[in-house]
């Protein structure tokens, strides 16, 4: 039942990040076993997105290592992530505004594209075949998420919930082994929330999921394992039931609620 550490899709070990005098992350350890849904929770400013940024190469940690399937990812850059079979969505969606939904999603399929510069300029060889294959896959993902009908639209013309699905499609088209979701439930209606929970459970059959989420019901519902961050340190972790009843977690949320209560 418990796979060995070398199978784990992504592991952060002893990660510390300082922004000037502020310690954003303090000796954090987190790991994502295959076929699991891991939730990352904590009050605002706890360092969740910072940890995501470290895991995806956007921030280089001061100390600590990131590894995937037993290989240490030193000098991790964001564009390496896709090649390790890891996709990530961003909290602000960051869709490409000047590109159609289909082009947005096809861009997510970079890992699967093999065409070289010569082919891209001349249009010879596998150009047409690759483009058709990628377009087909992108359409299939859009169809799976129920938004194939907006393939030709520009993101800004779509409702927020649909835009979120476009961002998800862009991450899924790479056929990742690990999907990192940054607040997938934010701004969704209650119907969309229920749909999201079902979708994450479905995705679990094909890949692991690591998600940051404020919506406790969703987190408790879909996660196998939950890691709680507060002030950059892991204060609790374990299965949903354990975390839910951990007094340290309650204290962290209540303590921070007095200071800021944005979400």
């Amino acid at each position: 039942m418990t796979p060995s550490l070398t199978d784990h899709l992504l592991t952060a070990d002893g990660v510390t990040v300082r922004f000037g005098g502020l310690v954003a992350l303090k000796d954090v350890h987190i790991t994502v076993p295959p076929g699991s849904v891991v939730g990352l929770i904590g009050p605002n400013g706890a360092g969740k997105t910072t940890l995501f940024n470290v895991l995806s190469g956007l921030i280089t940690p001061d100390t600590g290592t990131i590894s995937s399937k037993g290989h240490r990812l030193s000098g991790l850059r964001p564009y390496h992530l896709a090649n390790h079979g890891i996709s990530r969505t961003l909290q602000g969606l960051n869709l490409f505004p000047g590109m159609t939904v289909l082009d947005n999603v096809m861009t997510g399929g970079e890992r699967l594209a093999k065409t070289g510069l010569f082919t891209m300029l001349t249009g010879l060889g596998r150009f047409e075949r690759d483009e058709r294959a990628l377009r087909g896959r992108a359409m299939a993902v859009l169809d799976e998420l129920g938004i194939a009908h907006v393939a030709g639209a520009y993101p800004s013309t779509l409702a927020y919930g649909v835009q979120k699905r476009v961002a998800l499609a862009r991450a899924l088209v790479n056929e990742p082994e690990l999907l990192m979701l940054d607040e997938p439930a934010g701004g969704l209606s209650s119907e969309e929330l229920a749909e999201l929970a079902t979708r994450i459970r479905d995705l679990r059959e094909r890949m692991s999921v690591l998600l940051i989420e404020h919506h406790m019901d969703l987190v408790m519902d879909v996660c196998d394992h939950i890691v709680v961050l507060n002030f950059g340190a892991v204060i609790s972790e374990g299965p949903p039931d354990v975390v839910r009843n951990d007094p340290a977690v309650t204290a962290a949320y209540l303590g921070s609620a007095e200071e800021s209560d944005d979400e």
């Binding site: 995806s56 956007l58 850059r77 964001p78 564009y79 992530l81 896709a82 090649n83 996709s87 990530r88 961003l90 960051n94 869709l95 490409f96 505004p97 000047g98 590109m99 159609t100 082009d103 096809m106 861009t107 997510g108 970079e110 890992r111 594209a113 065409t115 510069l117 891209m120 300029l121 001349t122 249009g123 010879l124 150009f127 047409e128 690759d130 483009e131 862009r170 790479n174």
Partner: protein, 380 residues
């Protein structure tokens, strides 16, 4: 990619036109056109454009041939700049510097290595400009927005000054003049020199435009637009952002260099004043005027580049203006045109045409389907 010919028949290519007479209609033809693979579609469009150029030169005078050829090399320069700005989102105010490099490379090769065939001379000019683009692209890869614009502006100012600095080698303010072979002897009875030159220019331009069209419709174009729109999301999708930006610089420099080389071939001279900062700024202005994000926009821009100058001159003549005023009239015209267009239609001439086309099509497919050639799928 096609020429300025906008009649449906020439834009779609002659062989397709024949097929239309037999069966279907323009609408079905448009359908078949759209389902064609990309490469043959672009090649057919380029062939049609070449035929149109040959047809045009047969009915025009030498002056018009020269203007037609100028539209060709300007279109190439503007299209290259369009790849850089419209696709990769890097604003350059120094595109004229690459035209300078291309023109002087060609001039130096003609003078010092006259045995080189024209195609090899042009190819070498492209290689040299691409190298220059690579260096500048790498240096500028971390610069954004106004900083990049400033750095490239410095390039546009510095390049022409080189001609004066190394006046023994580059000819100083008078530049370099040289002799170019015209029409091959075998054809000299039928084809005039200016006709031949226009053909050579347009053939070269169209070949490169096919490359650019492929680029902009495929993976590289998508990578560039992704980098333009959101570098973080592009990188997380697996795109090497810096590499794509440099590639855009190299492609654009190659186009600029080749355009400069063709200009040198056409005018048989390379002078520093031709490549002053005003050229770089004009290229940017007409690019926006024509419409960013589409190769058609480069065509409208090139036509503006050549004809606004013309009209400015004739207007100055008609009004019998002082020479100081007359010299600046084209710039005033650009300015007015650009301001008017950006205020009323920020997507440029191509944006207007696309909207008109869409309006016509939605009003019941009244037979103009084939004109909507490649630019319909563009972003922006």
């Amino acid at each position: 990619m096609a020429s300025s010919q906008k009649s449906p028949a020439t834009a779609a290519g002659p062989n397709v036109e024949e097929a239309a007479r037999g069966s279907g209609g323009p609408r079905r033809l448009a359908e078949r056109w759209r389902t064609l693979p990309m490469l043959p579609r672009h090649l057919i469009a380029a062939c049609a454009a070449m035929i149109a150029v040959i047809a045009l030169t047969s009915i025009t005078d030498p002056g018009a041939n020269l203007r037609l050829a100028s539209i060709g090399f300007y279109m190439l320069a503007i299209a290259g700049l369009g790849i850089l700005i419209g696709f990769s989102g890097q604003v350059s105010l120094g595109h004229g510097a690459f035209m300078f490099i291309g023109a002087y490379s060609t001039a130096l090769f003609v003078i010092h290595m006259p045995m080189l065939p024209l195609w090899l001379n042009l190819a070498l000019a492209v290689v040299i400009s691409c190298l220059a683009g690579l260096i500048i692209g790498v240096v500028c890869a971390r610069l954004h927005g106004p900083y990049l614009a400033g750095a490239t502006l410095a390039l546009a100012v510095a390049m022409p000054a080189l001609a004066n600095r190394f006046s023994d080698f580059l000819g100083g303010p008078n530049g370099l003049s040289f002799v170019m072979r015209g029409t091959p002897p075998a054809l000299s009875d039928m084809v005039s020199n200016t006709q031949w030159q226009a053909w050579v220019v347009w053939l070269t331009v169209l070949i490169v435009l096919v490359f650019l069209a492929n680029l902009s419709h495929g993976r590289l174009g998508r990578q560039m637009r992704a980098v333009r729109d959101d570098e973080t999301a592009a990188a997380l999708s697996g795109i090497r952002v810096a590499r794509v930006k440099v590639t855009a610089f190299v492609v654009s420099a190659g186009c600029g260099g080749l355009a400069g080389a063709l200009q040198a071939y056409l005018l048989k001279t390379a002078t520093p004043s031709t490549f002053a900062v005003a050229l770089s700024l004009s290229l940017l202005a007409v690019l926006v005027l024509g419409g960013l994000g589409s190769l058609w926009g480069a065509l409208w821009g090139a036509i503006a580049m050549v004809y606004v100058e013309e009209w400015g001159d004739s207007l100055a003549h008609a009004l019998t203006l002082d020479t100081n005023v007359a010299n600046n009239l084209p710039h005033v015209l650009y300015g007015v045109l650009l301001i008017a267009l950006v205020l009323t239609w920020p997507s440029g001439v191509q944006g207007i045409l696309r909207q008109l086309g869409n309006a016509l099509r939605s009003r019941g497919h009244s037979g103009n389907g084939t004109t909507s050639v490649p630019s319909t799928q563009q972003g922006k």
